[in-house]
């Protein structure tokens, strides 16, 4: 039925099966939209946030999707700026994943703010000292870069490509894609960094507060670094899942291997820096504010215990870095999946800790630990963009030539 839209030379499942497969994500999107409607029209009382927990699930989701969406900028950077040519085979997919992630971030932000109709004040009346301003600017600019990067791929749809103007447009955009990609990398470096700054600059919250060496706060680099390390992991993770779902190999192993090796180096160096940062914070910063290190981890219900730090640094840091760095290990497909999953989980956990723990822990001596569980509205609106992303990726895969190696790896037998 939709064969005119499907790229040439590849095989796709029947439209019926495709549609059926999308029922669940579509339902989740509708559920999420309903929750978003509630939050917009009834206000944020629909959430379980409170005056101690002003930043909660949404802000975490925001930081997490941006971190894992970092695959787009870093792969783009490697492909266009560094010149790792093999990566052309995965860049399209990286861009789509990144685009979904950044759309999610914008959508969540639009729900998260108490006065969505005034959201544009952040641009208009910007306070340049605020990390959030920087985040908003870079985020929206980078989202437009991603859209620009996504556009030529869209134009390659068989139907659209038939129009000469769109065809030429796509062609021309390819020509200067390096400029866009470089701009995107520049933007991304900054806003990933400023996201790190978001909690790092909270000098009233000793858990979040991080000192700097040359620049303040040091979390600025850590966030960029970890996004560069774990973003490609997320791209590969999604790619592997797509392969699993379609039952096809879509990207050649050497591409995975290259990206995994680079990620491994990034992750390994990141985790060294992160441990150094944690040590400096624990030994120098924290005592200055009058806290002992363990005070941050000893709440009565152990919800925010030391285990979380070990999980983040060792299990989701050192372990995946080691796997990705050692050639035999990363080429073992099981270990490879373990590594990328842990890396992605680890960066999400890092964002979780940096956002939630400063909110939860008492700073005044007579304050108490606060616990918070998201309401269903928060869950639904957080799942909404994930489900939406699945839709976008599925549609893109079906109708656009996302994987240049697909035809080669899956030759269609002419019957």
């Amino acid at each position: 039925m939709d064969s005119a839209l499907i790229p040439e030379g590849v095989e796709r499942c029947s439209l019926k099966r495709f549609t059926l497969g999308l029922v669940i994500p579509a339902a989740l999107v509708i559920w999420g939209l309903y929750a978003a409607y509630l939050c917009w029209f009834k206000g944020l009382n629909q959430t379980n946030m409170n005056d101690s927990y002003g930043f909660a699930l949404w802000i975490w989701a925001d930081l997490a999707v941006i971190a894992v969406g970092g695959g787009a900028f870093f792969t783009g950077f490697l492909r266009y700026v560094v010149g790792k040519d093999e990566l052309k085979n995965i860049i399209n997919f990286a861009v789509i994943v990144g685009f979904c992630c950044y759309c999610s971030a914008m959508l969540i932000l639009a729900i998260d703010i108490g006065q969505p109709l005034r959201g544009w004040f952040i641009f208009w009346h910007a306070n340049v000292h605020s990390m959030l301003t920087e985040v908003a600017f870079c985020l929206s600019l980078y989202l437009s870069v991603l859209a620009i990067e996504y556009l030529p791929l869209l134009l390659e749809n068989r139907k659209i490509d038939q129009n000469p103007f769109w065809h030429n447009m796509g062609h021309r955009m390819h020509e200067i894609m390096a400029v866009f990609a470089a701009t995107g990398a520049f933007l991304s470096c900054f806003h990933q960094g400023s996201l790190g700054g978001v909690t790092g600059v909270l000098y009233g919250r000793p858990f979040g507060l991080r000192e700097g060496i040359f620049i303040w706060p040091w979390t600025f680099f850590l966030y960029t670094w970890s996004a560069a390390a774990c973003g490609p992991c997320f791209t590969m993770f999604c790619c592997k899942i797509t392969e699993k779902l379609t039952g096809k190999r879509l990207v050649k192993d050497n591409v995975y291997d290259l990206l995994a090796k680079i990620s491994g180096w990034m992750l390994g160096t990141y985790i060294v820096a992160k441990i150094a940062d944690t040590l400096w914070w624990a030994v120098v910063t924290v005592p200055k504010t009058g806290f002992s290190f363990m005070q941050f981890y000893n709440n009565s219900n152990n919800y925010h215990g030391l285990w979380i730090l070990i999980l983040e640094l060792v299990v989701c840091g050192i372990v995946p870095a080691a796997i990705l760095l050692k050639k035999e290990w990363r080429q073992n497909s099981r270990l490879f999946m373990v590594a990328v999953t842990l890396a992605v989980f680890g960066v999400c956990l890092n964002r979780w800790v940096m956002v939630m723990q400063p909110m939860a822990m008492p700073v005044m001596t007579f304050d108490q630990w606060v616990l918070y569980f998201p309401s269903w509205q928060e869950w639904a609106t957080t799942i909404l963009p994930v489900a939406g992303g699945i839709l976008v990726i599925a549609l893109s895969y079906r109708y656009l030539p996302v994987f240049p190696q697909e035809r080669e790896l899956n030759p269609v037998e002419k019957s």
Partner: protein, 218 residues
């Protein structure tokens, strides 16, 4: 996706509808563009403002000139209270001091005396210069402190013979005089627009700083 190097042949024949040689057609396209442009410009610049603002008359007419002649100055009606607050538009009690009974022949005064004085009902004046609730405006600071003229913000309303219609933004509920009579926000006189920027510009000029937020907000 393929790179430019990987040449591919096989041109699709379907749907390449655009044969760009037809000059007349492209002229028509341009015409359509212009029509769209003109129509939306007209809507945006002419129709939209008409829709955005509602126009209403004051409860009855009032002549500042006549009253200024009679009482001599602005302060007789628009005065400062002892605690330094500004009384603003006169209350019924103030007006009644003179208007217990109909004095002249004007229709407006008759309305006033019969419908408001007799009924002891405050006149629901629509105030052209009313700022939104978030604004704290100190008349004392401006008039007494800085010695400003009423006209600098209120224009020549003190010399008006009759009251102009009150225009209100349907969406925001503001008087049009606050945002500016001109839909583009242009202003010719200091009193044409009273948005925050206008306050800030004057403050900057006269005091060297636009001031802290709380100076004008509450």
């Amino acid at each position: 996706m393929s790179l430019p190097g990987e040449k591919q042949t096989g041109r699709e024949q379907t749907g390449s509808s655009g044969d760009p040689t037809n000059k007349g057609e492209s002229g028509l396209v341009a015409l359509f563009f212009i029509v769209g442009l003109a129509a939306s410009l007209a809507i945006g610049w002419i129709v939209f403002p008409k829709l955005l603002y509602s126009k209403s008359e004051q409860p009855f007419d009032f002549s500042h000139v006549t009253h200024a002649d009679a009482v001599g100055d602005c302060e007789s009606c628009h005065f400062f209270r002892e605690d330094g607050t500004y009384a603003g538009v006169p209350t019924l009690a103030q007006c009644t001091e003179c208007h217990e009974e109909v004095q002249g022949e004007s229709e407006a005064e008759e309305t006033f005396v019969n419908e408001y004085v007799a009924e002891e009902k405050e006149v629901p004046w629509k105030i052209y210069s009313r700022q939104p609730d978030c604004v704290f405006f100190s008349h004392a600071a401006h008039v007494t402190g800085a010695g400003m003229d009423c006209a600098e913000c209120h224009g020549d309303i003190g010399e008006s013979e009759s009251l102009k219609p009150y225009e209100e933004n349907r969406l925001t509920g503001y008087s049009r005089d606050i945002w500016g009579k001109n839909i583009a926000g242009m202003k010719k006189n200091s009193w044409d627009r009273m948005k925050m920027e206008d306050c800030g510009a004057c403050h900057k000029e006269t005091m060297g700083s636009k001031g802290a937020c709380f100076q004008c907000h509450k």
